[in-house]
C-alpha cells in the first residue's frame, strides 16, 4: 500500500533532494516553463502547487513561508506581484506537464513543465474552444425555446378549439 506516501526520492539524499526541488521551483517561477526529466517534472508539480496556493493568501505569513522555500528574493517578488495575479482564477492545477520523448545519452523521458496561465498559444486555443462551445450551447437553447414556443402555440390552439 502506498497510503500517505507523497513525493519521490529521485535517488538523492534528503538534503540533495531539498536543494533540487528548490532550484527547480525557482527556475519554474522565473522562466514560467522549464525542460527537465519527466520524473523531476512530476515531483516539481507536487512541490510547487501548494507553494503557489499559499502565495495566493498574499499576507506576511505566506511571504515568510515562501521565503523559507524559495531563496531568491527577486523570484519571490515575481511570485507575489505577478504570478499570483495571473493564476488567481485557478483553484490548483497551475502547472502542465507535456512529455517530449527520450533524451539521447541515458534515454531518460524528458518533459516540459509550465505554468498553465503563461502559455499564450494554449490560452488562445482554450478561449476559442470555449467560445465555440458557448455559441453552440446558445444555439441549442434558442432552438429549444423556439420549439417550446411552438408547442405552446399549438397547445393554445387546441385549447381554443375545445
Amino acid at each position: 500500500m502506498r497510503h500517505k506516501v507523497k513525493g519521490v526520492k529521485l535517488n538523492r539524499t534528503a538534503s540533495h533532494r531539498k536543494a533540487l526541488m528548490r532550484n527547480l521551483a525557482t527556475s519554474l517561477i522565473k522562466h514560467k516553463r522549464i525542460k527537465t526529466t519527466l520524473a523531476k517534472a512530476k515531483a516539481l508539480k507536487v512541490y510547487i502547487e501548494p507553494i503557489i496556493t499559499k502565495a495566493k493568501e498574499n499576507d506576511l505569513s505566506a511571504k515568510k513561508y515562501v521565503m523559507e522555500l524559495i531563496k531568491e528574493k527577486d523570484v519571490v517578488k515575481t511570485l507575489f506581484n505577478e504570478v499570483v495575479e495571473t493564476v488567481s482564477e485557478r483553484k490548483g492545477g497551475y502547472t502542465r506537464v507535456v512529455k517530449l520523448g527520450q533524451r539521447l545519452g541515458d534515454a531518460a523521458e524528458m518533459a516540459i513543465i509550465e505554468l498553465v496561465d503563461y502559455n499564450e498559444a494554449a490560452n488562445l486555443k482554450a478561449a476559442e474552444s470555449k467560445e465555440k462551445k458557448e455559441a453552440k450551447a446558445k444555439e441549442k437553447k434558442e432552438k429549444k425555446t423556439e420549439e417550446t414556443e411552438e408547442a405552446n402555440i399549438v397547445e393554445e390552439k387546441s385549447s381554443k378549439k375545445k
Partner: protein, 59 residues
C-alpha cells in the same frame, strides 16, 4: 549446491532465444506535420502537442 550436469549447446541457447523479439513501437502521424510520432508526446520534429506548439523550437 546443485549444479548443471551438462553444458547447454549453442543450438539449445539459440533456440530459446528465438522467442526474444523486439516489437515495433506504435507510432501515429502528427496532426500538424504528418511525421510519425509516439502517442502522448510532443512531436519531435515540429514540437506540436494537442494542435499547438509546446516548444520554442531548438535552433
Amino acid at each position: 549446491m546443485p549444479n548443471p550436469k551438462r553444458r547447454h549447446s549453442s543450438t539449445r541457447r539459440d533456440k530459446r532465444r528465438t522467442h526474444y523479439k523486439a516489437t515495433a513501437s506504435a507510432l501515429s502521424a502528427c496532426a500538424n506535420c504528418g511525421e510519425m510520432k509516439l502517442a502522448h508526446r510532443a512531436c519531435p520534429s515540429c514540437g506540436y502537442y494537442s494542435s499547438r506548439s509546446m516548444l520554442i523550437p531548438k535552433s
